[in-house]
């Protein structure tokens, strides 16, 4: 079924651009018509997909306020807040929407700062594994080890896994903060 659908899609593209010729062509009618019907259905299905657009913005903390706009004079120690806004501009729901953010180089994650209506996990191994509370095993010189929560400064990625589908037209948002090293 999958293979058939793919074949018809390819045909459909031809049909749209060269439709007149195709319809007028003297052909063995029955299978071609069948293909045409399938192709139309495929065009409709193709447009019916989720399509989430993302927009990223940054603000800088200034006392109790957040300054937005272009930041070309950040200083070591400054706290930046990244805001991710998304909208499903498609016409089907986006399921298992998973948003991933690298903690930018020369910044460190600010503990407890990630928010959003999603399950939030963190990586300390450049995105290989994620956990709500990454742990590190520290080895003492005598060979014994100890497991303890990884410091927020060691986080490399934040991930938001939205439990609910992003319905067509629906918005989503996610926030986190970093500190400039």
């Amino acid at each position: 079924m999958t293979r058939f659908s793919t074949a018809t899609k390819r045909f459909a593209l031809v049909a749209v651009t060269t439709g007149a010729i195709a319809l007028m062509a003297p052909m063995n009618q029955i299978p071609l018509l069948g293909q045409l019907f399938d192709a139309t259905a495929a065009i409709a299905q193709n447009a019916q997909r989720p399509d989430v657009k993302l927009n990223l913005a940054v603000e800088r903390r200034d006392g109790d306020n957040w300054q937005s706009g272009s930041i070309n004079n950040a200083r070591p120690g400054d706290v930046l807040r990244y805001s991710l806004k998304g909208k499903n501009q498609g016409n089907r729901a986006a399921n298992n929407f998973t948003l991933t953010q690298v903690i930018p180089s020369r910044t460190t994650y600010v503990a407890q700062s990630a928010t959003g209506s999603a399950q939030i996990t963190f990586s300390i191994d450049k995105g290989k594994t994620y956990s709500a509370q990454p742990m590190i095993v520290t080895k003492r010189a005598d060979g014994t080890t100890e497991s303890r929560p990884a410091p927020a400064e060691s986080y490399t990625h934040v991930r938001w896994k939205f439990q609910n589908a992003i319905e067509p037209g629906a918005n989503l948002s996610a926030f986190y903060q970093v500190r400039v090293r």
Binding site: T2, Q45, R49, P50, D51, V52, K53, L54, N55, L56, A57, V58, R60, I71, N72, N73, A74, R75, P76, G77, L80, Y82, L84, G86, R92, A94, N95, N96, F97, T98, L99, T100, Q101, V102, P104, S105, R106, T107, V137, K139, R140, A141, D142, G143, T144, T145, E146, S147, I166, V180, R181
Partner: protein, 843 residues
């Protein structure tokens, strides 16, 4: 007269457990900030399901947001060293180099303004300020071939004639993280009095007191000629705008006392660098690697006074049949181990040579006979340096000493965990103050303090008086004793307490478990690692009379459990209070009935109540504490809260602490109790011991006749006996004895109770005392102070203060002493005792 003696017992003692803080120079705000001009780019990505093909999810990518980092100026000025050029004591006409470190703690290149005119206070004079080199961010010091004088006036570094460039940077431009070394050579006046301070200041910021307010402050007066400040480097690339309006300034002050001792400050550091357990069934083949380092400090320890750092040179030792002067780093080979192989012995560089001795450890390292030939049967390994030509200068940091030992002395069949203890020593002398009667420079490993200085910067009187000619018996042998030395628990030279601290590793077979005080799961108590202990005390209201009872507040403990195996995980480790196989020793007892013990670990809490009739702890509520899996080498901490019931007697009366035996064990038969018949071999016990007060105070009195010598009633607590002999012009002498009754240090790694900041307060008109009152209203107080009658065990005369106005005697409260306060000034260690005695004449 009875009124004068009725209050023989008064609890007038305040023991507070405070550790005084040391105000260190503030760290720079951001010594290694992101470089100016750096662009921080950020893009978000997302994935979501493709409803048509789950194997090919859709991706979404956001726009990219750029943040650019601006240039931020930053500067610190810190004392680097004070060096008496000709060594020895700082004397009139000596030249002392006051070195300062001026660091660019901003995030871009900068220039500095350095004042060309020295600022000296006290009997000293300087004519020039020099830049002598620079220090890289990794701490490497580079000295210029010759010192460069800073001209007077407003001169930024790029305009200083003859200043060499820091490689990779234009002349006078200091990269972020780099520092320049500024020296002010100062000549001590020929008439300078001994004890006078000679201060040299670089910069002028804030209170000029070396505290945080003097570092990296906004530059207030941009044209002042006495400020050390940043000057934006205008030609730098990568950034457009410099921090012109935000230049920073800093200052530092260094003081040298005339006549002060130039003293080499040596710090020997020791860590375990490797551990290989080898056979899982034997403790006799474990291999432990050690690494050593030696530092010669360039600044006197915080809290010390009158010390000028000096250079380290050798002291006389016997090597290969000759007596030579060498700096000696020595390490006693731990008991039950021997050196592995010559190939495992490393030296920092070719200037250092490894040496060995087989002399017994009773022979101190500087009296031993050393050979440069490796022998596995060595009792000590040493590293020697010939400082005849090049002394080890202030700031030297020598790393790379290493050796390995194998635990071949542990009996092959041994299954009991074994503690391997070790401490390193360094011996030398100060350049310019050498010879058999000059002081020995001596330090022990385990902490960061040089030359065995105490943590508060005071000198360790037992080792500072040593000389190479001291009787051999007075030189520390370096044979570790954790009870006396203390432990560097975290294997990183952060031990506390006098002298050095032992490095301890516990080796154990698979299937063992270690349960002990926080961070020391392998602690060993009076006899073995099943009676290691943590002693803590409840607060006690100072007005609680002897013989009284209290309802103590709960006391919290943190214990550590460790799986010592290198390979095998322990599953379902249960932690419970249990009296199995527990027999109270002298100085301890099981807790009173209805004592609650609350264990907490990983979000679970289990409460047990002691049932005296049953003789054991009964699970009351919560969830039993189980550690599902303890990985090889893993250590976890759990807490124990002990709440003794109302009506608990004072430990200072019973002389006993209340012991809570806590087991960590693998419960094979599932009965939640540790079986001690050998069927549950994976088990270990630690004791959490609560004292209801541990500093006992006893007040006695005696009556002396008018001559002040004839004892009419000897020291007693019997008020009636005293009252019968009290008469005008006789003397009553009070003796207050204080004693720390808690169990004395023993074994390895136990936590004992020290009484710190002890103060004995004797108030003659309060707290039940009447000896300074006028109870018969004849306008004469009932007793008068006898001048010179006070004696103390600790602290000497200076430890006693007299109210209302010093030591005096009279017949009114204003002209006599109505209150004595005695502060012994020493830590009263377990089982230590002291007295405070004063005499009053009966009026």
């Amino acid at each position: 007269m009875n009124g004068k003696t009725s209050s023989v017992f008064q609890r007038l003692l305040a023991a507070t457990l405070l550790v005084s803080g040391i105000t260190a120079l503030a760290a720079p705000a951001f010594a290694d900030g992101t470089a100016a001009g750096t662009s921080i780019d950020n893009t978000a990505t997302a994935t979501y399901d493709n409803p048509d093909d789950p194997t090919k999810p859709f991706n979404a990518t956001s726009n990219t947001v750029k943040v650019t980092v601006a240039e931020v100026a930053g500067i610190t000025v810190t004392p680097l060293s004070t060096i008496d050029v000709n060594g020895g004591n700082v004397l009139p006409n000596d030249i002392v180099n006051y070195e300062f470190k001026v660091t660019n703690v901003g995030n871009d290149t900068t220039e500095f303004f350095i004042p060309g005119t020295p600022t000296v206070a006290g009997p000293g004079a300087a004519t020039v300020v020099q830049i002598t080199g620079y220090i890289k961010p990794d701490g490497t010091r580079v000295d210029f071939p010759t010192a460069v004088a800073v001209p007077a006036g407003t001169t930024k570094t790029s305009a200083i004639p003859g200043l060499p460039a820091i490689p990779g940077s234009p002349v006078g431009v200091i990269p972020a993280g780099y520092a320049i070394i500024v020296n002010v050579p100062t000549t001590i006046n020929n008439l300078a009095a001994s004890g006078a301070n000679v201060d040299v200041r670089l910069g002028n910021t804030g209170a000029n007191d070396n505290l945080a307010g003097t570092q990296n402050q906004p530059n207030t007066a941009t044209t002042a000629t006495d400020k050390v400040r940043t000057v934006d480097y205008l030609s730098e690339t990568g950034t457009t705008a410099g921090p012109v309006a935000e230049e920073k300034e800093a200052a530092a002050l260094q003081t040298v006392k005339v006549g002060s001792l130039s003293q080499a400050l040596a710090t020997v550091l020791k860590t375990r660098t490797s551990y290989v357990p080898n056979s899982v069934t034997s403790l006799a083949d474990d291999v432990i690697g050690y690494g050593l380092a030696l530092k010669v400090e360039s600044a006197a320890p915080v809290g010390s006074t009158g010390i000028t750092p000096g250079k380290l040179v050798g002291t006389a030792i016997k090597v290969d049949g000759a007596t030579v002067n060498r700096v000696l780093v020595s390490d006693a080979i731990p008991v039950q181990t021997k050196l592995t192989a010559a190939a495992d012995v490393t030296v920092p560089n070719t200037n250092w040579k490894a040496v060995y001795t087989t002399d017994a450890l009773t022979v101190p390292a500087i009296a031993a006979t050393w050979t440069s030939t490796f022998t596995a049967s060595a009792t000590r390994i040493g590293y020697i340096y010939d400082a005849t030509v090049t002394p080890l200068a202030e700031g030297a940091n020598i790393t790379g000493f290493g050796f390995k030992v194998v635990t071949s002395g542990v009996p092959a069949a041994s299954t009991t965990p074994v503690n391997i203890l070790n401490i390193a020593q360094v011996f030398g002398q100060t350049k310019g103050n050498e010879g058999p009667t000059a002081p020995l420079v001596y330090d022990e490993s385990g902490d960061q303090m040089p030359s065995n200085f105490n943590d508060d910067g005071s000198t360790n009187t037992s080792t500072t008086s040593l000389t190479p000619g001291s009787p051999v018996g007075n030189i520390p042998t370096g044979n570790p004793n954790a009870t006396n030395d203390g432990i560097d628990n975290t294997n990183d030279n952060t031990g506390k307490g006098p002298g050095g601290e032992d490095n301890v590793i516990t080796i154990a077979l698979e299937g063992s478990i270690l349960n002990g005080p926080k961070d020391v799961p392998g602690a060993v108590g009076p006899s073995d690692n099943n009676n290691d202990f943590t002693n803590r005390s409840t607060p006690v209201d100072p007005n609680t009379p002897p013989g009284g009872t209290i309802d103590p507040a709960a006391v919290n403990f943190v214990n550590s459990v460790n799986n010592p195996s290198g390979t095998a995980t322990l599953s379902n480790v249960l932690i419970v209070p249990d009296t199995a196989a527990f027999t109270a020793a002298t100085g301890e007892t099981l807790p009173p009935d209805k004592t609650t013990v609350t264990l907490t670990y990983g979000g679970s809490t289990a409460i047990y109540t002691f049932d005296a009739a049953l003789g054991n702890f009964v699970f009351t509520s919560g969830n039993p504490i189980t550690v599902p899996a303890l990985a090889p080498g893993q250590t976890i901490n759990y807490t124990v809260s002990v709440d003794l019931p109302a009506g608990t007697p004072l430990s200072t009366d019973t002389l006993k602490g209340f012991s809570i035996p806590i087991y960590a064990f693998v419960d094979k038969d599932g009965d939640s109790r540790p079986d001690v018949d050998g069927t549950e071999p994976t088990q270990n016990r630690t004791i959490d011991r609560v004292y209801t007060g541990f500093l006992q105070l006893k007040k006695e009195a005696r009556i002396l006749d008018k001559d002040g010598a004839t004892v009419l009633v000897p020291f007693t607590t019997d008020s009636a006996a005293l009252a019968g002999k009290g008469a005008k012009d006789r003397f009553i002498e009070y003796r207050i004895t204080y004693k720390n009754i808690s169990i004395a240090p023993t074994g390895t790694g136990n936590t004992t109770l020290d009484a710190k900041n002890v103060a004995v307060i004797e108030d003659g008109v309060n707290g039940g005392n009447s000896w300074a009152k006028d109870t018969d209203a004849n306008n004469i107080i009932d007793t008068s102070h006898k001048m010179g009658s006070v004696s103390v065990t600790y602290g000497g005369p200076a430890s006693v203060t007299y109210s209302p106005s010093g030591e005096q005697t009279g017949t009114t409260a204003a002209t006599d002493v109505t209150k004595y306060v005695h502060k012994p000034g020493v830590i009263i260690q377990p089982q230590d005792a002291g007295t405070f005695v004063f005499r009053r004449k009966i009026n």
